[in-house]
Amino acid sequence: MPQKIYTKYSPDELWELCISNDHKAFKELYDREFKYLFAFGLKIYPHKPDVKDALQEIFTDLWVNKSTRKINHIRFYLLKSLKYKLLKCKPDGKIIEINALSKEDQILPLVVNDGDSKAKEIQKILSQLPKSQQEILHLKYYQGLSNTQIAEILGIKYQSVSNRLHRILNGFRKKSKKISV
């Protein structure tokens, strides 16, 4: 029997495999999502032991109760669970403003020495965006969240998500034009 190549599955497909009791798929899902969830968690509540515990509980619970969980979008589910779990740990229940984060807490991968000059140019513009804008792009394209879901995760209004996206993307377009001219 050919071995499953788990890295080729999307997160939602991995979740489907988890439901059919595939623990290796569960491991792959964990490996793929941990880093971002950990960074995202620290942003809500900058206390590593609590973020670790929360992630441990969420993933354990996910596996133990997999047959009864109705999850359409696994990444959204994970982000949302982590957010609400950590807000319970926090005395003020507020999300920290993303721009207040220190420089090393990069949200996007932003591999600068990678790809052709066009790719590098895009990476440069991306890295210069404010953190809150990088965050929205990440949630939108990497995590594949809808604008409504982004609004819930970030605790802002739906309209605000659309407006920000518009501003980011078109700002991008203008900058890119300037560079290529």
């Binding site: 960074a39 895009i122 394209y141």
Partner: protein, 352 residues
Amino acid sequence: MDQESNFDSLLNNDFFIEWIKTHPSESEWQAFKAKHPLPDEDLELARSIIVQVTKPPSNEGQDYFQAEVWKNIEKATIPKYKSRLKVFGFLAIGLLALLFIFFKYTQQSPQVDTNIALKKADQWIEYTNTSDSNWPVDLSDGSQVILEPQAKLKYPRHFSKKTRKVQLTGHAFFDIAHDTLKPFYVYTNEALIRVLGTSFYVKAGESDKDVQVIVKTGKVAVYNGKDVVEYRAKKIDRIEPLVVTANQIATLEKSNLKFHKRLVSTPMLTKSLESIKKIHFENTTIHEIALALEKAYGVEIVIDERIKSDCRLTTTLTDQPLFEKLKLICDPLGLEYLEKDVRIYIIGNCKI
């Protein structure tokens, strides 16, 4: 619609995003560009943005946390891991009874820990390796136990203050962290093993006809379970452990509960001397060579009284197994070696 909102709606189009994520071929992409009203420049930009932003995260540095948290999740989600409360009760009482008797009658009272974990009933973990490969279990003191398939280990989440105790059924390799103040005990059905800090292999499967303890490094004391029971009944007044050192195997036959020990078939260099892989001897007496080997392998070598100090040899020993080294030494001198119990004897008349 103007180009700005066209650009915007393209980057908000789920179908477009998903399509780009699947990495369409260059010809598909060219065909798409030809049909789309936006200028190529904008389309290329939209595609690059999605490709760049959807790259998997590369920020390193959290690997340690990732592995650490996974370990705990794994324990809680792999069905083999069970924290059996009920079984623990019996186990704790059993251990308590056995230990109490054991210590009471062996006069090792300074080490007695009668407050065995009874109160911490929920702290015991029972783990059976139902996979078909070896499985490492890390204990709270830093020791590691590698369970072979089907092996079962009961161990506390945290060891008590005075001793470290685990129970084994099946085959496993133990690498025990050194702690002279906290002896480490392995309970099996027929034998009790006591160590301070060493590495050894235990074969104690239910279907095995004997219990075997094979020591890799250090020193291990093995007690016969029958002796412990007879002690308790006061049928015998003292109990002697069998002391097993590196490269020795202690065997306890289940049929007659008798102990014996012998050398392993391929003695290995003991841990502390692993670096000495190559030894050169220049016109050296056989006695000195034997002493070097004794140190390197932790195995006693006895030399025939008839062999005198004029029996000398020039040779270089590298990484051959011990018995081949012995052959290289003995053959040119016309000597022979034989293995008896746990010793090696070199006998014969030296030709030189």
